[in-house]
């Protein structure tokens, strides 16, 4: 009897550790069925939808709770520059964009804890109402600890290993249909503080 109880208990304990541990690992590592990549930005076809799979729901609950479905808003995120190197708050990045296929858009910087970085300079984002585009619709912004001479600036002062989110509100229908190749801004690293970076 005791042997049987020990067997069941050990199976349950080991099963719980393995099952919950592997689930947490998948959630933390961003495993997402339906994930769509677009030039270092990523999104999911299922954010907010009632047919989202459990993995997408779990990831969205962690990084995008109360996100809208893609008919209303399309969210893309990224954690790395155009060379695939993880963002670093001490570096300077150039963001090059053009007209975006949505009624309103914004780009926001988040710290590793998924909240706005504690920068104390009120420059967490740029958006369609604040960016002055060139005649051809192109625009440039800087992500850096300081503004420098940039017209459009997102602060990474205390961003450390930051990430970016782009929100496309009331996107044109083509956006939802072509998530993998809709035109999105590029992000290029221009330099970093300190040697060896």
């Amino acid at each position: 009897m005791l042997k049987k109880m020990a067997f069941v208990l050990s199976v349950l304990l080991a099963g719980a550790a393995l099952g919950v541990g592997s689930a947490m690992l998948m959630i933390r590592n961003g495993a997402m069925i339906g994930r769509v990549e677009n030039n270092h930005w990523f999104t999911s076809r299922s954010v907010g939808l009632v047919d989202a799979d459990p993995y997408t729901r779990a990831l969205v609950a962690r990084i995008g709770l109360l996100g809208l479905n893609r008919q209303e808003t399309v969210y893309f995120s990224r954690t790395e520059d155009g060379s695939g190197v993880a963002f670093d708050g001490a570096c300077i990045y150039r963001v090059d964009g053009g007209p975006l296929a949505a009624r309103w858009w914004s780009i926001t910087l988040y710290a590793a804890d998924n909240f706005l970085a504690l920068n104390d300079d009120d420059q967490p984002s740029i958006d369609a109402t604040s960016v002055r585009a060139n005649a051809d619709g192109s625009w440039t912004a800087r992500i850096a600890p300081g503004r420098g001479d940039a017209q459009h600036w997102i602060s990474s002062r205390n961003g450390a290993a930051f990430s970016l989110s782009i929100r496309l509100y009331n996107p044109e229908p083509a956006v939802g249909e072509h998530l993998e190749d809709v035109a999105l801004p590029t992000v290029t690293r221009e330099g970093c503080e300190g040697a060896g970076r």
Binding site: F7, S10, V11, L12, A14, G15, A16, A17, L18, G19, V20, S22, A23, M24, M26, I27, G48, L49, V50, A52, P54, Y55, R57, A58, V60, A61, R62, I63, G64, L65, L66, G67, L68, N69, Q71, E72, R103, W104, S106, T108, Y110, N114, F115, L116, A117, L118, N119, D120, D122, P124, S125, D127, T129, S130, S165, R167, Y169, N170
Partner: protein, 181 residues
């Protein structure tokens, strides 16, 4: 002995698969419940709007907030019957969205579809009846998949001046149980 270990390993694999799937399903509900509790002061402020201050770096209630939007939230609870939500118009992008307890965004109404004078939306649970008068007054009647959920209004307000205007508009928004006096 060898047979015993094979049985243990197979049983553990089965148990871990069950825990894995169960946890994946529970995780969003747990986070949503925590969010509902935070937004409602642990259930003390249900069926009433809470207007969040401008999203700054000190905001720590919901992950990845937009600093360019004015958010209002209402944790609704249908245990005492349907809940009526009324939304004042806004001169730019705005939306009312409803989220079930499993995080699903099951309803959204934005300013493009909303009447210019604003809208009344009634949220009800399965089988909850409305009077003809209540139904007639509503722009839409929506059935919530869960007894509790979150109603969220977003108003585009990228500047402090816009935020102040949004705040003035949202003070007239209503979220209340239909039976409430």
């Amino acid at each position: 002995m060898k047979k015993h270990w094979i049985g243990w390993i197979l049983s553990t694999l089965l148990a871990s698969a069950a825990f894995h799937i169960g946890f994946m399903f529970m995780y969003p509900q747990l986070l949503m419940t925590a969010a509902m509790n935070r937004l409602s002061d642990n259930g003390q402020r249900e069926n009433v709007w809470t207007h969040a201050p401008r999203m700054t770096e000190t905001a720590r209630v919901i992950v990845r907030p937009s600093p360019d939007l004015a958010y209002s939230s209402c944790v609704y609870n249908l245990s005492d019957g349907p809940v009526q939500i009324s939304v004042q118009p806004w001169g730019d992008y705005m939306s009312l969205s409803l989220f079930a307890a499993n995080t699903d965004n099951y309803y959204t109404l934005n300013d493009r579809r909303m009447p210019s004078a604003g809208a009344v939306v009634i949220v009800r649970g399965a089988g909850q009846a409305l009077t003809d008068e209540q139904s007639a007054a509503a722009f839409e009647v929506v059935e919530s998949p869960s007894q509790r959920g979150i109603a969220l209004i977003r108003r585009l307000a990228p500047s402090q001046a816009q935020f102040n205007k949004a705040h003035a508009a949202r003070e007239s928004d209503v979220c209340e149980a239909l039976g409430a006096e």
